[in-house]
Symmetry: C2
Subunit: 355 residues, 2 copies
């Protein structure tokens, strides 16, 4: 067990998007600095970071200089090239660790891991070509979803199969990448648990939030979620089991489907999570600070919540609503992205619901 990072220490963050931006602000609140590594120019996190390195993940000189300049390394997205991680882990600790990354980077590995813990998942089968897809469809049945094993997010890398006839076009849609076929789940709603685990094994989870998606992208999260006390306890215990099994350090998002047969794990994300943004206005210690605390070896907040919150993402043209939103008493969190694009997450608002 290492000692906590002192005031003034630097946390290296791979990725300079909005999550890196909000992690940087949280680090600053604790008197810590951040150094962002990001291939793209003018990253959103750059505005609030102590230092930014603009370089590619295959630039070993830049990666080495970055690694040597920081005290610990974390990341805001899970699809970091393995070669970069191989280099960086020779220099500094990386949290969350490689096991968590490897598990969540690959849907097949992830689902196999979750089932191994005795948790419920959607039925799934490995798909590598037309033959295995045909076999999978006969086992799982249609409708089903074909999902690439890697690099999927916000509904990307997915194709629906409503009937066996759709199989060939679905394979084309995902460019014949290694995939899994997932059976449809009949769920009433989706919730997510934002859990955290420290290097000392302490675990703290926030109250589950209820998520609504549109076109595969998170639209709103509402806390508290519609769950009965048993479901609420189950949700938190599921998250804790996953965190412990991975010997996890940091914040994780765990998406769960609520069904009459219990909670079914949809997917896990080894990082701060869009569905945890409500914690910025509902908790003394939000998910970003919680992640920084875990990674820096500081004590975790207990995850308690002092307000009900509705978080709404501002996506693409939602920014046209900004003048009206700015006139209401909601917390705006804008990411400083220069260009509005369809489907692009531009910011979010947290609305505190007075009880």
């Amino acid at each position: 067990m290492t000692s906590p990072l002192p005031i003034g220490a630097t946390i290296g963050i791979l990725g300079g998007g909005q999550l890196g931006r909000m992690l940087s602000v949280a680090a600053a609140r604790l008197g810590l600095r951040t150094h962002i590594f990001e291939p793209g120019a003018m990253p959103p996190a750059g505005d609030v970071a102590h230092k930014v390195t603009t370089a590619s993940y295959d630039d070993s000189v830049a990666l080495t200089a970055f690694g040597q300049s920081v005290d610990v390394i974390t990341y805001e997205f899970e699809n970091i090239p393995t070669s970069a991680l191989d280099l960086l882990e020779t220099l500094r600790p990386i949290h969350p660790g490689r096991t968590a990354l490897a598990t969540s980077q690959d849907r097949l590995t992830e689902k196999t891991f979750l089932q191994g813990l005795g948790l419920q998942t959607a039925p799934f089968a490995d798909v590598s070509d037309m033959d295995t897809l045909t076999a999978a469809l006969s086992e799982i049945g249609a409708p089903a979803i074909l999902k690439t094993r890697r690099m999927g997010y916000d509904g990307k890398g997915q194709a629906r199969i409503m009937a066996a006839d759709d199989a060939a076009s679905a394979l084309t849609d995902i460019a014949r990448a290694p995939a899994i076929l997932e059976g449809f789940i009949n769920f009433s709603h989706e919730v997510s648990v934002i859990g955290a685990r420290g290097p000392d094994g302490s675990v703290a989870c926030y109250d589950p939030g209820e998520n609504v998606h549109e076109a595969g992208i998170l639209r709103t999260t509402t806390v508290p979620a519609r769950l009965n006390p048993t479901q609420r306890t189950d949700a938190v215990l599921i998250a804790a089991r996953i965190l412990n099994a991975l010997d996890y350090v940091g914040v994780m998002g765990v998406e769960l489907f609520v069904t009459p047969q219990g909670l079914i794990v949809n997917e896990i994300a080894p990082r701060v999570h869009n569905s945890g943004h409500w914690t910025q206005n509902g908790c003394a210690i939000d998910q970003f600070e919680q992640h920084i605390r875990a990674v820096a070896g500081w004590p975790l907040g207990d995850g308690s919540r002092h307000a009900d919150v509705v978080m709404e993402n501002l996506i693409g043209d939602d920014m046209d609503r900004l003048p009206a939103l700015a006139k209401t008493d909601v917390s705006l969190h804008l990411y400083g992205k220069a260009e509005v694009k369809p489907g692009r997450k531009m910011g979010h608002v947290n609305r505190i619901v007075k009880s």
Copy 2:
């Protein structure tokens, strides 16, 4: 009336201390950038600002480049050299404006202004030498406080006069600077109102907080303050009257003494104020964002409060308590200052009081 600054615009901030740091974070939340101008090296605000200029206030080349690089100028402290303001105001709008600065920079001007508005202040008299001090003492009586007209903060530039015999040494203590003699006020407690005014004349005030000082430095602010409904209304109306009289744009702190004879204005600060830090965890829109909104011409938040909060400053060796504080569910706000010094504000904590 100018149009609101667009996303990506830059706010120039004179001063890079903790107030500039928290203003920078608030600007980032609105998708705005900050450029800090600060003579000292490694300013706390630098960690979270888009750009930092390290230069002296008499460096006209640096000031000009700074002014030209930003869209609007504000500041985190009121003792900015006049020559710097003269130069900068030829380049960009400065908010709050010169009248507010001139009024609050000089205790004699400030008190005269407040009395001109019909507000109560402590009895005071202009002191420039031993003769005027003797005359002031015979008018106001002892005990009294001799305060320099300019550059006083956190109890600095003040000398108590318990009896007429102390007059000579008090003058020496303040280095015979131009001063005022202030009569003692018999007050039960001090409260402050954090008020804001937009360029359209809209005014919004936060609920008054109750302040406790130690050795001239703010120790805690508690909201709600102990005030009856009439006092609460009076406090807010006093702040609004001051804001309107100065045609003010931005956030102002107004310190008030609570006495049986009503509220007495102690002093005003033309900037975000230490006694408003509780708003970070008690309001959807905190004082820092409120100031940025005013300066940027965005609509103001309504100042409503969703939680009771106790704010405690971490001063000097209070930082020894950090390990214990980090184990409790309070919101830490550390300023990233490298060196702990006696009396130095190192951070603060906001404790949300569940109702």
